[in-house]
Subunit: 217 residues, 2 copies
DNA sequence: GTCTATAACCTGATAGAC
DNA sequence: GTCTATCAGGTTATAGAC
């Protein structure tokens, strides 16, 4: 009956490197990161990086794949849940993203700025395109507002949750707000975003658009 | 009466370098850019970069300052115009940003990702903080909706205009949409954003928020 | 002002001892 | 597995001819 409890306080060297790489790559980006920075951050020698991961590029690829999934993995289970209504999906998207990004504020700017160079390599396997385009959420949005492209609403939901984190460095450094205020605002946003988006789904846009575009579509 | 018309088709070498630097830095970021790339892009020799600008860093600083102003300069004249109403300011912000970013789609991701490293150096002189916090727009937003922090609405207006361009590489590479569709959507957004934001300003959020924050402000 | 050649430095990767 | 020492290649910056 004597339980053997082994508390593994020692993290493996490989994981130490991976963790350091996550931190440094995420903060500085691939090109600005030196393998020496990662080694130092891990409290280890440079040679060990190449022993465990063959090259800087391969180490980066592991981190990047992980981070892309961290950023986009949130979406899939929510937008394709057949048991939830439109409104619930919006609530969950806002909450999940704001909670997750509060823990990892520099995730979006890292992923999006690295992805602009070679987007296909890291997104192709996740099938993000079909995942979104054929999603239940899209179907529900079309049903609710057939006249407006549903991608507008998806962009808005994600943008209202993610954009503040992308702009955070400017907010803080220009004293538009401080870290405490930012946290308060992001908590408020979890309830405000669904309210706002529901509003968008109800509003009938003025027929002003017809006047400006008289020519045929 | 013989007019001397001198058409200056030759751009000065200095301007050729600056133009090439704008292009390469904006596309690849500071760290990933090699001075050789810029020289090649300009069709010139590497040594000339150091002749005209003392170093890669100084050349970058010039480009960066310019780009920061390009991205944030749009805001100032609109949000502090005493002759326009709240709604007009929203319309102008959406239109100006979407028009400008349609011409320079990779501007936001470049500026925001470079700014995360040393934000103060490039934003301090523009006084972006006071410019926004003491703006007429903020006053008008508070007047219209005293219960909600006006920064929410500013974040939303800017986010709905800018975020699509930040996400554009993913949209295109994952085939969520193609370039033509993106253009159509962004044109629609110029009229939709003001409609949506006006909606936000009218909606009375459920009193649910009061329950969560019982403490005094 | 513009070029070629090269210096001075930095960075990723490896060899080899322990 | 982990370290020190070092190599090979690339990058910024400059010297010096034209």
């Amino acid at each position: 009956m004597a339980k053997k409890i082994i508390i593994d306080t020692d993290i493996s060297t490989e994981e130490k490197i991976r963790e350091a790489a996550r931190k440094v790559f995420t903060k500085k980006g691939y090109a600005a990161t030196r393998t020496r920075d990662i080694a130092e951050e891990a409290g280890l020698n440079l040679a060990l990086l190449n022993y465990y991961f063959r090259s800087k590029e391969k180490l980066f690829a592991e981190v990047m794949t992980e981070k892309v999934q961290q950023l986009f993995g949130v979406i899939a289970p929510i937008i394709n849940d057949p048991s939830t209504q439109l409104n619930t999906k919006i609530v969950r998207l806002a909450e999940s993203y704001i909670d997750m990004l509060s823990q990892h504020p520099d995730l979006p700017i890292f992923v999006l700025s690295e992805l602009r160079n070679n987007p296909v390599q890291f997104t192709s396997k996740m099938q993000i395109g079909p995942l979104i385009k054929d999603s239940i959420l899209i179907r529900q949005l079309i049903e609710k507002r057939p006249a407006i492209n549903p991608l507008h609403f998806i962009t808005n939901i994600l943008g209202m949750a993610i954009f503040p984190f992308i702009a955070q460095p400017i907010f803080l450094s220009t004293a538009i707000m401080d870290a405490r205020q930012f946290k308060v605002l992001m908590t408020e946003r979890k309830t405000l975003i669904p309210v706002w988006v529901n509003g968008m789904l109800e509003i009938e846009p003025h027929s002003k658009t017809d006047k400006t575009n008289k020519h045929e579509e």
